[in-house]
Amino acid sequence: MPTITINGQTLHCPPQTSVLDILLNAGIAISYACKKGTCHSCLLKSLDIAPPPGSQTGLKDTQKAQGYFLACQCRPDENMVVQVPSHQDIYVDVAIAGKKMLNSQILELTLGFEQPFDFKAGQFVNLQRGDGLTRSYSIANPPRPDNTIQLHIRRLAGGKFSNWLHNEAQIGEKISVSKPQGTCYYLPDRPQQSLLMVATGSGLAPLAGILTDALAQGHTGPAYLFHGSREAEGLYLVEAMRELAAAYPNVNYFPCISGGTENPQYCSGRANDIAIATLSNLKNWRVYICGHPEMVSQFKKQAFLKGASLADIYTDPFLLSPS
């Protein structure tokens, strides 16, 4: 059985068990969130052998060359010596610059960077609290002169991180922020292309950011945004999106509620179903889908069957952390 050595401690690697689980089972503190290879918060560095290829999927070439890998995706078949990368390699400490409730459950958290922070609206960052607890959130705005980013934090029942941000974290308090990640963002290569965006809940964050970014970059093609929630209270930024649609003739905004109560201000039904019923053909469209994982996978299929190419469908399912 191969072994893994970390901080001088050597552990056996049972078959089909990830390095992350081996370390967690041994009581070794390591940050992690999604366990699916998406959030990159369990990044480790190999000090001797080249990590198994599957454990480096999605990393930057520079990171791969330096031996970084994702602990949750690594099932070693030979002995490895690894270390946790130093905090400064991954995170920058940023002050909380603002807190504002967007509806009863969703907090808009503003973080102010001292140095310019290179990102695209729709990418996500990992936030890390002082005790190591880590969560991923999407960025809801394009880069701004004041170097701030905004995140939409939905309060989850029993959610340690979201409740801490909602109830305890103070303006001015520092929080660690990772480099931006993910490929769900606006690409300015085809400004006349039709864009379709479907979000549920706080999945609006990346899509509102992508839409704002697209318009700022001079996108002229039609853009359709469908935002869904069960009840009207679950929607947010409704007025801001309506104003955007009024200001830009190519923007079409559909707030949707699926809970069954009729309300003339909103479309009645699930956002993905209303999108499919509204648009007759998605050939050559670019499609962005963010929100509940079941909605994301269902709508991906619906959009593909309506003619969208799989390569033009960008998704960002919520990374709900396995507790």
């Binding site: 593909f304 069957l305 799989l310």
Partner: protein
């Protein structure tokens, strides 16, 4: 050496164009879509692309044994000749939509037909 069917049809670009059309037909066909309804659409599409590349006589690493192993779990789910026929139907219809000449469609169909016994584990 004469140009292969794969090159005459249009190579990788033709396969990429064909495979999404084909996959839509398969997903919408209630007779067979349960065999294709994997969780990850990209993985499924990659498999369809490998199938098309093979049917067009393009570069592929399929062996009869691979075919058997890859489809064994589907045979357990009830995969039989009727389903293979349905796939052949969609293969032909896809190529017709893309205006592939009939004689090339017949060649591709014959190659795909050659995999029937391995796919069905006979």
């Amino acid at each position: 050496m004469s140009e292969s069917l794969y090159d005459r049809i249009g190579g990788e670009a033709a396969v990429s164009a064909a495979v999404e059309t084909f996959y839509r037909k398969v997903l919408e066909d209630y007779r067979i879509n349960r065999f294709f309804d994997g969780k990850d659409m990209e993985t499924q599409l990659a498999k369809q692309k490998a199938f098309f590349t093979m049917a067009f006589g393009g570069p592929n690493n399929y062996t009869g044994k691979d075919m058997r192993e890859a489809h064994a779990h589907l045979v357990k789910m009830g995969l039989d000749d009727s389903h293979f026929d349905a796939v052949m139907e969609h293969l032909g219809a896809t190529m017709q939509e893309l205006n592939v000449p009939n004689e090339l469609i017949a060649e591709a169909a014959a190659i795909a037909e050659g995999a029937r016994h391995d796919v069905l584990g006979k």
